[in-house]
Subunit: 471 residues, 3 copies
């Protein structure tokens, strides 16, 4: 008998709750996927005949959730084919890498990554056995075969997976060449860019000057002072908006905001251009720029996403050997109540402003995020982020945020993934967990049963559409 | 068929737990209500024929839980009849306001406010349909009719709702005129004042000097220095105690305590009288005054309530336009272990001291509050406060505090409400959730079944009575 | 009918989950107990005929969990026989103390201490009634009778309780005389020392110089500067390792680490020897020594345990009257992400380093501990510590850590107890709660049922064995 995932996975162990959860899930499981924030590479869609490569290309090399876990148990990243930035030699044999992965697949027991991969293997790719060290090569063959088939071409999958909206995340200086290519080819209907200006804000970063030069070049605006810098940023926002962007994205270590005077901002910017800005100036500049960008959001209507609290590249060995975004970002405690106040004092009650807040610090859920979103018209709570995009993370999110913020001050779900085939799996987990949570609320008499189907659909799609202006 | 609330609301979805919870609940649901901390306006009871006004007067205008949620979705407070402090025009038509509320009642799905209002509508007021935009005016008529009836006069309700103890919260300078009126009329048996001296402690507040003048006036003590200030405070405590007070209440941003020398305190007080006290001096003064007031508590036996961590009036637009206590207070992280140590070093082991601690930061439940109350004879943990007075908030409270603090180092329940008709609803939620939690503990073999009825009654009344010296 | 504990205690109320939990529990309940971290006095085992003394000696006097709760309700420690450090008079009549305990046993309802004592009374000691004030003396007699029997001699119990590994915690300067005695007597096979050098690191403590002298004496190395200090520490590590130690233990208020230059460390050490080191220097020294000791761990292979965040001796009255370790240590918030970075930058990726992290701040579970252990090969998360070694504490641990860290980046269970007879009880709670948690994961389709028995055994023994190198 072929191996099958539990059809009631992620539902409660209680029969009544499970039965009601299943009914609600049936109503929403096939609704289109709205993916308003993520990191899929648009190049996947720029050629009609692009493919995902090997099973190792699909599941391991782009997915830092996967290789960080293997690394944490002493498996070198080189042996997993993660490219070194010095071009040094790493394992090239994708079958060998896959074998290591399969031999150590027990490490993913009970983890969200394990659940997503199981979903991809057994639901999307039709694998009929549990992955083990023994059957690793056979399953490799099976997957490779599927990936070579026309229906597994990325563009095909967008349609067959019913992905109605897919937003990418792009440097603010990006020319969106892949998207332009798609547009020229007439394929672009459901892919939208997102402008992320972080590299232009982090004025102490070694490559900041290069970033500013690039900004000047793509915007056609000579960036010589703070004023022309703002103009160039606005030019890029205009370009992104014209290319279909609905939102910008801002990654910051803290939510600190504080307005500078024009003179102060100008001075710091001059120091930055001269390469002498201090870390204190960088922090002050970031705190000011969040306010400037809130102002720009009010003007151009783009939604402002703020991701707070990930200390990037915590492991210097990984950073120096393999580069950014390799799974070694670690959360720190966040603070929103006092840090966001200066921004909110200025713009928080403006009905044109739409800020979506993300945190990797669950401690602020009930204390700060729910309470702020529960009073400020400009604020919504983003979905459980990163490590917390997991069944338990979602339950904590539902339990700790919704009583105070209410359902309608939240932004639904994002998958936020670099691993394309985890998109359907992640949305499926969210739909299952939200339906199960709703079922529990109904059975406890806290939600009217007749309201539940509408709320289930809100969680599945509508809250995200509304928060990101896709309806 | 008339609409009915689920008779098993807030109980577990598990049948065994639900059945036992229901049995325990039956034992305590009709016990008298002990409300040792709240914000009901005593003027409601100062005239025998007072009424609650319109449904909008009852449910919307005094309840910041309600209007903050509507505001968070972009509905102006003016349109909800919230009075502006400049006397500017706001909606006067209570039927229109009620219609807005009903049209947007879906925003309260799954929120504690929604649960309390449903309880008031369907249990207390006999409404037989769910509130919708369509039936809003019909239900308004029904409620108005009930509110006009003699049994809905506030004094009648105190008796029919079985409220055995109702404590108000009053400025330390208050002359308690309403209570004096009741006393003259022979109606006062179950209403008790609580002295809240915050306005006299916040020496940088714009109206502090006026507060001190008022203190001098009502106490008959010329407040010319720190010493006479303390004497005047003590005089007021004596007056409150004579008027029936069992407790004082102290709202502070942090739990910081630190003793000043007499000379230091005197100097800061002089600066304050001269209008030149700095924020640092205010913080030092507050930290000293908590210790002074602990000392006074030891002497006069009044229970000391300390509420920590609400950053008041976070939204300046709401504050400047509508004033204090309009739902825009936002929690910050709290710290008790180090902040309370100086006070506890001095008085923490004195058996005459009774401090009840409240926080809006659930992160300190298991880390600090439970561990401190589990060792200091002078400390008890107050009930889940404010945003956390909710079914999930209560469950987190039970789960995170009771293992370490034990049941008998907690202070039972307070409703802490400005909305009179949410009192029975809030106590009912507490009784349901505590009975359900107990049922779960019994079924997991963690509480003996024979002890459960006594513990259920402890939660319902006795812990509060004991903590506030009402038995 | 004799009183019996619920055979399904700590399992879920849900029948399916309970049934599966019971099946898993049956597989692991009789596995040997691995106790790699604890505080049992080795003197108990140094004479073949040692006994536990009276019931009061067994249950009350050594167990600060017990007497802190009684004290929190106003019962003086003197009346419980806790020895005063001034030798002042305390209750000597152990029957009177037992009576107070029994009269107040209701205070332990729903607490982990209550559960452990019930386990000892009804499972280990064969008591057949619930302990009450009425039957207190009869039960005292019963227990005394059992404690006087040969099978309750400590050495016998080690075998009959199936304790395969028992690690003690010992000052780094300890000569391990009791263990040497056992070794000479040929009894030592399962008792292992653990070196705890804290008293040598806290350079501002009043007895530090005396500690250093003792270090010099036992190591035979003249400690005259930082270099000879390190040598003497290494000598002791060598001695402990030779005596069977697998680990060291480090208690610190914060996880702060920061390397000093040799010159800086030398200067601080000179100041310490001269008795003029400042608290800032002590903090810097501690932060440096954690790094030095990580280096030593790499060299000698001993596992490094770091316990963070307990503010010791919070209650000065208890500290000055009764001394250390009397239940008045209170947690503070912890930070690991930034504090451990300097240490991890230097050694975090070294496969020879094994650090086990403990916290009393659950807020860092999902935010910091799980994420750090999920990427660094040198880090494992220790079990729920102290107040959190409880059924709910374990559930929070499982729910908040395992999704991100995975099972195999954790260190199983420790009992960490001073109360010998709580060892089997604590391990039993862990086995029950972990099996129940696993059962829930299986029924939610998140763990394969066929993997569950292996994982249950991992939790019960193997993770601890692996983390502490006992396999």
């Amino acid at each position: 008998m072929p191996y099958q995932l539990n059809p009631d996975r992620y539902f409660s162990v209680n029969h009544d709750q499970r039965n009601l959860a299943r009914q609600l899930y049936e109503l929403v499981k096939d609704l289109p996927i709205i993916s308003p924030h993520g990191h899929v590479d648009p190049a996947l869609f720029s050629r009609p005949d692009a493919t995902f490569g090997t099973p190792t290309d699909l599941f391991i090399i782009p997915d830092h959730y996967v290789f960080r876990m293997l690394y944490s148990q002493g498996i070198p990243l080189e042996s997993l084919g993660i490219p070194r930035i010095d071009g040094g030699s790493v394992e090239q044999d994708h079958r060998k890498i896959w074998q290591i992965f399969a031999d150590n697949y027990y490490l993913f027991r009970g983890t969200p990554s394990g659940g997503w991969i199981d979903h991809a293997l057994h639901v999307n790719l039709g694998v009929q056995e549990r992955l083990t060290g023994e059957n690793a090569q056979k399953i490799y063959d099976h997957i490779q075969d599927r990936l070579n088939s026309p229906e597994f071409q990325p563009r095909q999958l967008l349609a067959s997976l019913n992905i109605e909206v897919l937003c990418t995340t792009d440097a603010a200086t990006d020319t969106l060449a892949d998207l332009q290519t798609m547009r020229r080819q007439g394929f672009e209907h459901n892919i939208f860019p997102t402008s992320r200006p972080d590299a232009l804000i982090n004025i102490c970063a070694p490559d900041w000057l290069r970033q500013v030069e690039q900004l000047a070049q793509v915007s056609g605006i000579d960036v010589v002072n703070f004023n022309s810098f703002l103009q160039a940023l606005q030019q890029r926002r205009g370009f992104f908006k014209q290319m279909g962007a609905h939102a910008t994205d801002h990654g910051v270590l803290t939510a600190y905001t504080n307005p500078l005077s024009e003179a102060e901002a100008g001075t710091i910017f001059r120091h930055a251009l001269a390469g002498v800005a201090s870390p204190q100036e960088e922090a002050a500049f970031t705190g000011h720029m969040l306010i400037e960008m809130a102002h720009m959001s009010i003007e151009d209507g783009m939604v402002m996403q703020i991701h707070v609290g990930a200390l990037r590249n915590h492991n210097p060995y990984i950073f120096h050997t393999f580069g950014r975004d390799k799974g070694a970002d670690i959360p720190i405690a966040s603070e929103f109540t006092q840090n966001l106040k200066p921004l909110l004092d200025q713009y928080g009650t403006d009905p044109r402003l739409n800020i979506i807040l993300f945190t990797v610090d669950e401690d602020v859920y009930s204390r700060e995020l729910a309470t702020l979103a529960g009073v400020y018209p400009s604020l919504k709570v983003g979905p459980p982020w990163w490590f917390h995009d997991s069944p338990n993370g979602m339950r904590r999110y539902f339990d700790q945020i919704l009583e105070t913020a209410g359902f309608y001050n939240t932004a639904g779900f994002n998958d936020d993934t670099r691993a394309f085939l985890s998109i359907p799996a992640r949305h499926d987990v969210w739909r299952r967990v939200s339906c199960d949570w709703l079922a529990g609320m109904v059975l406890q008499g806290r939600i009217d049963e007749e309201d539940a189907p509408e709320i289930a659909a809100d969680f599945a799609c509508r809250l995200a559409k509304r928060a990101y202006h896709f309806e």
